[in-house]
Every structure is written in structure tokens, then in C-alpha cells.
């Protein structure tokens, strides 16, 4: 996902929020299927590992099984386990929610892969430059603390101060390492604070700079996602587009409204992939001309 990775974080964030919110609102097998398909393709494009996909599927299977067992709603019992009915509706509802959770997990995987700390800071910066700076400092110092904790614990071990292996002794030495780490963190904090003051921290209003630009294609992506979001959501105001599961399954009203909404949503979900593939073709073409 080279195009999407280089995309300005704001359009990307808008896309992810829009897709997850719409998928949850519609909660309908058609939307779920589309979202799942797109999210899996993106997962493959992001070079997600098979192991990760497998662990996601475990959640899928569990959610799918649990709903019919727990839910007693629905009018069409298929079998009885003891006195509890397993209904057709609850099976379908379970399948839909499990698929939805699965697709959100795939989407979220892509999202976290794309959103590194730099993008996170960039997203935060318009709201508060100081908050962005604070997050950056936390990201800086968290690994530092971890390393120091390991160092202290190793040093205590080699001077024979780790104590024995019983649980109270281990706890005691853990507390000592923690207290030494806190002292170190405070000392460290003073130096960091000095270094910040030296460079004018707190002398006036902060600004925030980053290297992210807004490419023309980012703008097109943002406008298209906004338009498609509207195209998917607005028809819902005029017509009943949601899917009813209980007590009996009622399909949404089909017609122009449903067609517009479903088509818009499909395009929206696949939009990053469309941009990605267009970008690849463009590069192939550019290269063939050289």
C-alpha cells in the first residue's frame, strides 16, 4: 500500500472512521461482505502474516458460535439444546457480527500499520502543538525506561542483590528496581526539562512542523471519500435500508435509494485499493516510457 502509506494522514483517518461507522450503522450482510472483502485485500497488500490472519479467524469463529448459544431471540428455532432453542435468526446475526468484527480487525491492522508515531503527531498537532510534543516525548522515553529497568535488574543480579527465588523475595527486589527506576526517571526528567527550557520551551505559543504535504491525489481521495460517505448515508434518511434480524428477518427496501447507498458504500470501501492500483499502473506506464 505505497500510495496509501504516503497519503496525508487526515484523509486516511477520515476513510477509516467513515468506513467503520457506516459498517456498524448499516449492520447488514451486504455491507459486511463488502467491508470484509476490501479489508482482506488490504491486509494482503500490507503483507500481513498468515499467523495474524489465523488468530483473527479464531475470534471470528468464537463470536459466530457464541451468539446463537447465548441469544434466545428469533422466531425460527432449528434445534433445541436442552430447553434452549437455536434460531435461524440468531445464527445469521452471529455470522454477520462475527464477519463485521473480523473486517474491523483487518481494517485496524492496516490502520495501525499505516499510522506510525509521526503520523499520529501530525494528526494531533492542529488540536494542540503541546499535546503533539508530549506524545513525542512519551514515545521517546518509554523505550528508554524499559531499557533502564532491564539494566538495573541485570546490575542487581550480578552483584548478588536480587535475592532468592521465593515469591516475597522476588517481589521485594522488583519493588527495589522500580524505586531505583523512578529516581532515575526523575533525574532524567530534570535533564530533559532543562534541555527543553534551553531551547525556548514555554516562552510563547508553540508551533508544529512536519514533512507531510497535501498531494493533489490526497485531496481527490478526501473529496471522493466525503462524497461517497454522503452517498451511502443520505439515502438512509429517505428509505428503510437497514436489515432486521429479530424476530424474523426482514430485508431492507430495495429500490433506487438502496442501490445508490450500496454502490456508494462499495466504492468507498475499495477507494484506497482503487488509488493504490491506479498508482501502480501509472508507474508501470511511466517506467515503460523511460
Amino acid at each position: 500500500m505505497i500510495w496509501f502509506d504516503k497519503c496525508n494522514p487526515f484523509p486516511a483517518l477520515f476513510y477509516f472512521i467513515s468506513v467503520t461507522v457506516l459498517a456498524a450503522l448499516f449492520n447488514n450482510p451486504y455491507h459486511t461482505a463488502v467491508t470484509l472483502a476490501a479489508s482482506i485485500v488490504m491486509f494482503v497488500f500490507m503483507r500481513g502474516r498468515a499467523r495474524v490472519a489465523l488468530s483473527f479467524s479464531v475470534v471470528f469463529v468464537l463470536t459466530f458460535i457464541v451468539n446463537p448459544l447465548v441469544s434466545k431471540k428469533g422466531a425460527t428455532p432449528l434445534i433445541f439444546i436442552g430447553n434452549d432453542p437455536i434460531t435461524l435468526e440468531s445464527i445469521i446475526y452471529g455470522l454477520n457480527s462475527a464477519a463485521m468484527i473480523l473486517s474491523v480487525m483487518f481494517l485496524f491492522f492496516t490502520f495501525t500499520r499505516l499510522l506510525d508515531s509521526e503520523k499520529l503527531l501530525y494528526l494531533l498537532s492542529p488540536f494542540s502543538a503541546s499535546a503533539a510534543m508530549t506524545v513525542s516525548a512519551v514515545l521517546r522515553f518509554a523505550p528508554l525506561y524499559l531499557r533502564q529497568a532491564r539494566l538495573i535488574s541485570a546490575q542487581q543480579k550480578v552483584i548478588g542483590a536480587e535475592g532468592g527465588r521465593s515469591i516475597p523475595e522476588r517481589l521485594r527486589s522488583g519493588v527495589r528496581v522500580f524505586s531505583a527506576l523512578s529516581t532515575w526517571a526523575l533525574e532524567n526528567g530534570i535533564i530533559a526539562a532543562d534541555s527543553m527550557a534551553c531551547r525556548g520551551y514555554g516562552t510563547g505559543k508553540r508551533t508544529f512542523f512536519s514533512f507531510f504535504g497535501f498531494r493533489p491525489s490526497d485531496l481527490v481521495f478526501l473529496l471522493l471519500s466525503a462524497a461517497l460517505t454522503a452517498g451511502a448515508a443520505v439515502p438512509a434518511a429517505f428509505s428503510r435500508l437497514s436489515f432486521m434480524y429479530y424476530p424474523v428477518i426482514v430485508l431492507p427496501e430495495t429500490g433506487t435509494a438502496f442501490a445508490v447507498s450500496a454502490a456508494s458504500y462499495t466504492l468507498l470501501v475499495f477507494l484506497p485499493l482503487i488509488f493504490e492500483i491506479t498508482d501502480r499502473i501509472k508507474w508501470k506506464y511511466l517506467q515503460s516510457k523511460i
Binding site: S117, L144, K157, I159, E162, W184, G202, G204, F209
Partner: protein, 514 residues
């Protein structure tokens, strides 16, 4: 044009009886390079901190400090931050951002620069320092030398007229520290930034210095062009921090002009003979590593690639090598902190795994890790010595016991930490960079302690960049490169054979003495 004028400056810390600085007066012209020397605790840092208002300690101040003709106290916060830059000792702690780019922008963002101004300054500085390809890199992945250069670069982004540096190279290896000094020289030459640097190791600095200042016990004992200052013999404490040519000059009576660099000192002094390696008998092997391979994860690079190392009882072995060559990892494997995936470690003939229930760390092996403060987990030094027999220690630390570990000076801390390690009475002692931040006098003490231990049959393995310390006390040295030990030999032969991992004295005397 004077950029800094200090008149009759005296300063007494809050709750202290004696002044930390007394009647210091000097002035620095714009564009000068000033080197400040003096023993630890003499007042060098205090002076620099008083000039950088954001770092000024609490206490009573007398006298005046003028920056660009304006009293420091009437500068606005913004002016003080923008016009006076500062770099301190610890490269690790003064970096605040998680990415190189963010760190470079920090000053510009704090002062609310416009986008164009900020980008222009950062672009220039990062090109000058070669950070342009590293802007997206995480700051914790940089080497110590790169971190310190980053701290320097980010101090320069606001185009300060005066740059203050408090022992910036004390935690760097010789290669990185030479890089740092030459970059500092370039900044002084090309950007015209006035530089004031306090430093213990002055060997690379004197040639660039327009002014040399000595501060001892709170008084300025000398200030002037280095050659003028050194035409008189400095006090013993200051002299020990001077580079080898200056030390030799005064050792030989101080006739003629004092040489400032190794180049000037070459051929000036005569040495009777090459000192020979004394024939020394070592005991049984204390540490035997054979074929050690280590990496952090299955997919990562090998850090140790088949290391073989044998150190015997009574031997002091130094291991040199650049950053990231695997020195620290080797010590960690030897101490049982890390586990190699192939090869074996034997301590006193026994496999590490045959030591059970902490037997290894009581009376056999002990180690002083890189950050000596990690030895102390209590509020006073004394609490960490509760069960120890103080009289058996090679150094009297009773004066340090009631103090907080963070209040000790660099040298005191290292000695106290070494003593705590020795309280487990190890027969094999591993040391990782034990002399960071120490002045020459403290190193001498440290070297004596090590020699005393070796005399009692203790085997010492030291990983270090400090060739001067090795010259004082090592028996043998090894060079590590790219995960393996490439050569081992007697300390004299080792230093003579090296161009870089050797002492200034050895370079100057053509290998006659080390």
C-alpha cells in the same frame, strides 16, 4: 566586539557556606573558541550554568554578566533561549523527541517560527550535520556520537550567537568525540558562533582554542591564548587534564615553547629506551569463552560471531572496539545476563550453568554495568553496603556513605559503584566503560584500585574506549571488530601497533612509551 563580559562574578549555592565561584572576570569576543579546564567540582559547570539563565542554580550572585552589552537579567526569555545555545554532558537525556526531525524542529517550534524560517534553518543545519537522510529515524536508534551531534545541531537551529557546552564528549568513544570536536570547530569557523566548552580531555581542543581558561576551587587561575597560558606551569590538578605534549613539556622542565598538539610534540622529547613488557605470571584461566554466537532475535543480525577469549587470574584485560562491535554484549554473555545461542562460557573452569542459586555472583564473578548509578537502589549510598565489610574494600568510601547516589560526582560514583561490586568479593571482575565522566585524577585512583586487585589474583576484564586508563593499568588488550576478537597482545605492543586505539603519548613518542 565583546559578546560576553563577566565582571567580578561570585556565586554561592543556596545552603552552602563557601562560594562556588569567586571574583571571576573575563570577556569573550564574538567568534572566539574558549576552552575551560579544571578539576571536577571546581566551578566550570557553575560558570556555564550562570551564563545560560534557564539552567542557573539557586543561590546568591554578585557581579555582572553582560551578553552583547546587555545584562543577562534584562534579556527576555525568548532572547535568552534563542541567542544562547547549550549542550550538556548526557547525550541520552537531553533528546526529547522520538524522531530526529522532531528534535531538530524543537527549538523552532518552541519559539513559534514561521514555516519558512523553521524549514530553512532545519534544512541548513541538517545538511551541515548530515542528518538529512536520518530525519525519520528514531532517536533511540542513533549511536552515542550521533545523539550528541543531534543535540548540538538542535541547539544551533535557533542561530545562537553563543554556544555553551558542558563536557559534551565525556561519554563518547574517541572516534565519536573527535568527530564532535571537529564539527564544533567547523561551526565556530564557518557560522561564526562563539563557543565556550568545559572539558576534561583537552587533547583535540587546544589547537582550535583562541582562549584557554583554568578554573580551580571557584577561582579563575588563568585566561588567555593557550600558548600564553601554558608558558607558565599549571597546577598539578589542571596539568593532569592537559594533553600529553603539554604534560611532557612540563615534566621535562618546561624549556622553550610549550607544544599544544601531538604533531608539535613529536621529536621534542627524548626517550631512553622502549619500555619492555615485564614478565608476569598469570594464574589459571578465570574466564574462557569459546565460539560465542549471539543475536537478539531469530531474524536479527549476529552480534557476536564466534568470540574466543581467555583471561587468567591476576590479568587485567582491556577490550577496545568501536560502538556496536559487540563489546558490551560479550561482557553480558560472560556474566550470564545474556545467553549465547552457540558456544560456551566457563568461569574458573566450570560452565556457567553449573553455578546454582546465585553461587556465581557471590565470591566468583561480578560486573559493573555501563550506567554505574544502577548499582544503587536506595536513597543513600550506605544502604547498599549494609551487609558489606567496609574495611576489606580497596578504597575508603566512608565519606560517600550518607550521600544520595545522584549527588556524587562522576568519579565518586564510579568508585563507589566499583566498591559495591567488590563487596561481593569477586575473583573475576567485568567492567563496562568504568571511567565515563572521570577526570584524570579520578582515573589514577581507579587504575590503582584495579592494579591492587590484580595483585591479589583477581582477573579483570574491562570494556572501554579509554586508552589512557589502559596505559595506566592494563596487562593485555584485545581489539574487537564486527562481532569477533581480531587481535590480542601485551598492552605496549598493542598500543604501538595501533593508530587510533592508542594514547597521545604513544603517538608522540613513536611508540617508545605509552
Amino acid at each position: 566586539m565583546e559578546i560576553l563580559t563577566v565582571k567580578d562574578l561570585s556565586f554561592t549555592y543556596k545552603n552552602a557556606a563557601d562560594p562556588a565561584l569567586e571574583n571571576v572576570s573575563f570577556s569573550v569576543d564574538a567568534g572566539q573558541f574558549v576552552t575551560i579546564c579544571g578539576p571536577t567540582g571546581g566551578g566550570k559547570s557553575t560558570l556555564l550554568r550562570l551564563i545560560k539563565r534557564e539552567l542557573s542554580p539557586a543561590g546568591t550572585l554578585k557581579g555582572t554578566v553582560l551578553f552583547d552589552g546587555v545584562p543577562l537579567s534584562s534579556l527576555t526569555d525568548r532572547q535568552s533561549a534563542e541567542r544562547i545555545g547549550c549542550v550538556v554532558q548526557r547525550p541520552e537525556e537531553q533528546i526529547v523527541s522520538d524522531r530526529v526531525g522532531g528534535e531538530l524542529f524543537f527549538g523552532a517550534e518552541s519559539l513559534g517560527y514561521s514555516r519558512e524560517k523553521a524549514f530553512r534553518r532545519v534544512a541548513e543545519i541538517s545538511d551541515l550535520f548530515g542528518f538529512s537522510d536520518l530525519l525519520g529515524k528514531r532517536t533511540d536508534e542513533l549511536s552515542g556520537g550521533q545523539k550528541q551531534l543531534l543535540a548540538l545541531a538542535s541547539a544551533l537551529v535557533t542561530s545562537p550567537g553563543l554556544l555553551l557546552l558542558d563536557e559534551p564528549t565525556s561519554r563518547l568513544d574517541p572516534v565519536a568525540s573527535a568527530d564532535f570536536i571537529s564539527m564544533l570547530h567547523r561551526i565556530n569557523e564557518e557560522l561564526g558562533v562563539t563557543v565556550m566548552i568545559a572539558e576534561h580531555s583537552t587533547s583535540g581542543l587546544l589547537r582550535y582554542s583562541d582562549r584557554l581558561m583554568f578554573i580551580e576551587d571557584g577561582r579563575m587561575t588563568a585566561f588567555g591564548a593557550p600558548r600564553d597560558v601554558l608558558s607558565q606551569m599549571p597546577s598539578e590538578k589542571v596539568l593532569s587534564d592537559m594533553p600529553a605534549p603539554v604534560r611532557e613539556h612540563w615534566k621535562n622542565g618546561g624549556k622553550g615553547e610549550c607544544p599544544l598538539t601531538v604533531k608539535e610534540g613529536r621529536g621534542l622529547f627524548t626517550y631512553d629506551s622502549r619500555d619492555k613488557a615485564p614478565v608476569k605470571e598469570y594464574g589459571d584461566p578465570a574466564l574462557e569463552c569459546s565460539g560465542l554466537y549471539f543475536r537478539y532475535g531469530r531474524g536479527s543480525q549476529d552480534i557476536l560471531k564466534g568470540v574466543d577469549l581467555t583471561v587468567r587470574e591476576g590479568e587485567i584485560r582491556f577490550i577496545f572496539g568501536g560502538n556496536g562491535c559487540g563489546k558490551t554484549t560479550l561482557l553480558n554473555c560472560a556474566a550470564g545476563i545474556e545467553r549465547p545461542y552457540s558456544g560456551s562460557v566457563r568461569v574458573f573452569g566450570r560452565k556457567l550453568s553449573s553455578y546454582k542459586n546465585g553461587e556465581l555472583y557471590s565470591g566468583n564473578l561480578s560486573m559493573l554495568c555501563q550506567d554505574a548509578v544502577s548499582v544503587f537502589t536506595h536513597d543513600t549510598v550506605g544502604e547498599s553496603f549494609k551487609r558489606a565489610d567496609l574495611s576489606s574494600l580497596p578504597y575508603d568510601i566512608s565519606g560517600l556513605l550518607p550521600r544520595h547516589p545522584y549527588d556524587l560526582s562522576g568519579g565518586e560514583l564510579q568508585i563507589a559503584a566499583l566498591c559495591r561490586v567488590l563487596a561481593t568479593s569477586p575473583r573475576l571482575l567485568l567492567l563496562d566503560e568504568p571511567t565515563k565522566g572521570m577526570d584524570a585524577a579520578a582515573k589514577e585512583v581507579f587504575a590503582n584500585v584495579l592494579r591492587g586487585l590484580a595483585g591479589k589474583g583477581v582477573a579483570v576484564v574491562t570494556v572501554s574506549h579509554d586508552t589512557e586508563l589502559a596505559a595506566m593499568c592494563a596487562d593485555t588488550c584485545s581489539m574487537m571488530f564486527s562481532g569477533g576478537i581480531v587481535c590480542t597482545g601485551d598492552v605496549r605492543d598493542f598500543m604501538r601497533g595501533n593508530a587510533f586505539y592508542t594514547t597521545d603519548l604513544c603517538r608522540m613518542s613513536g611508540g617508545a612509551v605509552i
